[in-house]
Symmetry: C2
Subunit: 361 residues, 2 copies
Amino acid sequence: MHIGVPNETTRAERRVATSPQVIAALIAEGADVSVESGAGTAAGFTDEVLAGAGAEIVASLTDTTPLDILLRVTPPDDDALKLIRDGGAVIGLLAPAANAERYLAQSHIAAVALESLPRSTLAQSMDALSSQATAAGYAAVLLGASSMPKFMPMMVTAAGTVPPAQVLVLGVGVAGLMAIATAKRLGAVVYAYDIRPETKEQVESLGGRFVDAPTQEMDEGGYARAVDDETAAKQREILSDIVASSDLVITTAQVPGRAAPRLIDRADVERMEPGTVIVDMAAASGGNVEGSVPGEVVEIGGVKVFGPDDLASTVAADSSRMLARNLLELVKRMTVDGELLIDPDDPVVGPALVKRETPDE
Amino acid sequence: MHIGVPNETTRAERRVATSPQVIAALIAEGADVSVESGAGTAAGFTDEVLAGAGAEIVASLTDTTPLDILLRVTPPDDDALKLIRDGGAVIGLLAPAANAERYLAQSHIAAVALESLPRSTLAQSMDALSSQATAAGYAAVLLGASSMPKFMPMMVTAAGTVPPAQVLVLGVGVAGLMAIATAKRLGAVVYAYDIRPETKEQVESLGGRFVDAPTQEMDEGGYARAVDDETAAKQREILSDIVASSDLVITTAQVPGRAAPRLIDRADVERMEPGTVIVDMAAASGGNVEGSVPGEVVEIGGVKVFGPDDLASTVAADSSRMLARNLLELVKRMTVDGELLIDPDDPVVGPALVKRETPDE
């Protein structure tokens, strides 16, 4: 089985869809792995290191024999799909909602989107959305802490005490939990909020304080129902007050298939003190914060509002390592006796296959 | 008593020599405080906030009556000294070694250098070198962590465990201790080394591991004696090995009045893995690391070497607050019945006065 890993390095993308450890594991499974020269450099994996793990380093994957599997961090263009043999597969974070038609047009291959894996224990070790959200939540706190004129921890000095920073995390999914844990590590006082009531216990188990605003019930899919107007107004008032007193606000609220919910409007930002910071992790999907711009930092009344679109990439070594392990587990699931076998009825692989029946996936 | 605070904002300097709390305290002591417009903005202290604390905001200190005291973060130019009345004083981090002659030429004023305060408990609350080194040590770790492609803490995920980063701190003074504490907070495995044997216990009390290399005795002034060749070679060999296995190295070794000691040479840097980071906090005073450049980041064999010259300024709100409190304590020591009184025989103020007798200070 021939597996290829391309060079995806751009300004925003420093990750690579493999790691030295995973290359060794794939080779132990009987695969050949070709990696484009420089693909791992931004993640700290040099050609020498990857070759040492057993990869064949090539100037371009077009120089190699057709691939059984192309591994990707981001959606490939059509030319990249031509590197794959008939009956082969591309696997990665393929953004199927935006790209399904393009993959389906290449009928000689299967497209397996990590985003569409079932959220079950069977697929937990392949859950790239979670592993990359973990990396992004950590990186969001470092970005915020580095951009603040205040310390995160309390400082006790001979000339007096400097109080700790107050951090607010809105949205308590994987990224939010990691942000809470990292801000706590750094010594901040951490508040957090999510409309899902069951997150209160998770926040408190990490040492955070759950903001006392109305929460609500979930639908059968595990996502929040739309809130009524009165609840929404009450939420907004309580959140606006806690935003106003925060040194760092990190927003992480996403709703799959829809624009991210607006949690903070311009008036809320303007109530914050000059020198405070907001990191809107949902900027690229519509934004939790009014005025945030994907990939940029804007200043609103002395408040820095970041809309980063490459947080996981800022810790590219470890985010690539985690993604590579997710991919390894999925490749192993799709391999029988060293040969690629794509089973549309498999409870893990089936849902992840880009199919015409599920164009809204 | 009329106290003036100028605007010192430059690329590298975001601090200001006061804070809202200290303005209120000075006014409670009977002083008038004039602050140049914008002086606190980069530290998050707007004109409104400072005026609210009781300061008079002026476009320029040249518009006010002559000052009894000019407070400075950095050395003032000669024009700034003309703002001070006959018999008045300038107080701040005045870099007396480089500037003494210039201050002495202005014979109508006294120059009080925070760097020259005695290292005694009497002056502890005024110890600006320590308060600013605390800020810089914290900021160095954030800079390093934000620039590394690796996480600091261990991450346990469904797809496996990512090991923690290894951080090495060389030089265990105030900045080094703060760097150790901050890296430990973030979950790294922290090694540290200093030639002074008594630092071992301090390192271990913070959860760090003391590198097992030769240490040495101090002279009567508390500074390390020059090491013999054999000891130096042994130190270098052990340190080179631990540098080579580190993800982040922070160097803080300074020797007052001399160039900083070279701790890491180019061959050591080249042994480090691509993607690792060095922060040379001594870059501006000669450098602990061969190849570091003050105020810049250079890449040597895939290793990022930072030579920051503005670390305390990156946390300008809190470093200014601490510096302002140091200045407040010193101003109070120099005040009798609401009037400035410069007593050259005072055990705290005396040593800090720039005098012709101590041109090497």
